[in-house]
Amino acid sequence: MSEVKLVVQRFDPFTDAKPRLAEYSVPKREGMTVLDALLYARDYIDHSIAVRFSCRQASCGSCGMKINGRPRLACYTQVDELKSEKVLTQPMDNFAIVKDLVTDLDSFFAKHRQMMPYVIRSDVQEVENPTREYLMKPDELERVLQFTYCIKCGLCTSSCPTVAMDTKFPGPQALAQAYRYTMDERDEGGEKRLEMLDDAHGVWRCHFAGSCSFVCPKGVDPALGIQLLRRHVLSGKAPRNAGEGAKLVSPAAPEQKPPS
C-alpha cells in the first residue's frame, strides 16, 4: 500500500514559542481526503493533533485550513488531486491559532454579525404574528442565490490581503453577506448596512485581488458581491428603497373549499 507524507504544522500558543512541522506517514487509499489522512494520523499515530471538523461533506465549513499553501476544506480536498508526495497542512492565515490546525473564528463571526445578516422589516407586527408569506420572484432570488451558499468556513477571509493588513476591514465573507441581504427584495435594512460600510475601513478597502473568489469551495464570488455593493454604497440607496422592489407580500392564501 502506498503512503502519503502528511506534514502538519504544530503549535500550542500556551507551550510553544513558535510553530514546528511534524511529519507522519499515512497509508493512502483511493478517494482519501486530507481530512481522512489527518484523522488517521490523529487516531493511530499522534493523538495530540488538533483538527476541527464536523460534516465531512463541505457543508459545515469547520475544516478550513491551508493545504499545500492554499486555503481549502480538508474534507473536500482529495490527496490525489494535490499531485504531491507531501501534503503540508497549516492553519488558516489571518486568524489566531487555538492549537495546531484549529483557528479562532470569533472575530470572523463578529464581523459577520455586524453586517446584520438577516432580513430587516419595519412591519414588526407582521413579522411576529405572520399572516402572509413574503415572496421572491425567481430573478430576485437569482441575484442573491450564490451568496446564500456561503458556509462561513473563513477560507476567503484567510486569503484576503486586506484583512491581513486592516483589522477593521469586515472581510470578503461579511461584505458578501451584506450584499446578499441588502439585495434581498424582502429586506428594508439595506441603507443601514450601506451607511455602516461607507467608512475608511469599509467596503472601499477591497483591492479586488480576487483571492476570496478563487479559494471559495462553494463557488461563491465574494469579490463580485463587494464590487456590486460599492455601486449601492455610492448611491446610498438599497434597491428596494430606490423603488425597484417587487411586491413583497403575497395575498393571503384563499381558503380551500370543501369538494362538493
Binding site: 486586506t162 493588513m165 486592516d166 483589522t167 477593521k168 476591514f169 461607507d198 467608512d199 475608511a200 475601513h201 469599509g202 472601499w204 478597502r205 454604497v233 455610492l234 446610498g236
Partner: protein
C-alpha cells in the same frame, strides 16, 4: 467627507490624470523633441501660454489630489486607531494644500513674469 465621496474623487482624478498626463507626454516627447522640451526657455514659453498654464495647473491639482488620497488609503491600512486615522486625514489635507499652493506659486510666477526669461 464620506469615504464614498473620497473614492469617487479618487476614481475621477485617476481618469482625468491619465488624460492630462497623456497630453503632457505627447507635448513633451512628440511635439517638442525631448532635448528642447526641458530647456529653460522652452519651459518658460510653455508656462506663458495661457492655455498650457491652465493645463499644467489642472495637472498639478489632479495628480496631487490623487496621489495624496492614495497615500491616505495606504496609511489607513497600516494602523486602525482613531488618532492615526484622524492625523492621516489632517496630514493629507495639509499636504495637498501645501503642495498645490507651492506648485501654483511656480505657475503664477512663470506666467506673470516673476521668473526672468
Amino acid at each position: 467627507m464620506k469615504e464614498s465621496r473620497l473614492m469617487l474623487i479618487q476614481y475621477a482624478t485617476a481618469v482625468v490624470a491619465v488624460a492630462l498626463v497623456s497630453v503632457h507626454l505627447i507635448m513633451q516627447g512628440v511635439i517638442y523633441p525631448y532635448s528642447t522640451a526641458i530647456s529653460f526657455s522652452n519651459i518658460l514659453s510653455i508656462y506663458r501660454n495661457g492655455f498650457y498654464a491652465i493645463f499644467l495647473e489642472a495637472l498639478l491639482v489632479v495628480v496631487l489630489v490623487h496621489g495624496f488620497n492614495g497615500l491616505r488609503i495606504i496609511l489607513h491600512e497600516i494602523r486602525q486607531t482613531k488618532p492615526w486615522t484622524m492625523w492621516v486625514d489632517i496630514g493629507t489635507v495639509v499636504a495637498i494644500v501645501a503642495t498645490v499652493a507651492y506648485g501654483t506659486r511656480t505657475v503664477i510666477l512663470a506666467v506673470f513674469g516673476g521668473v526672468a526669461g
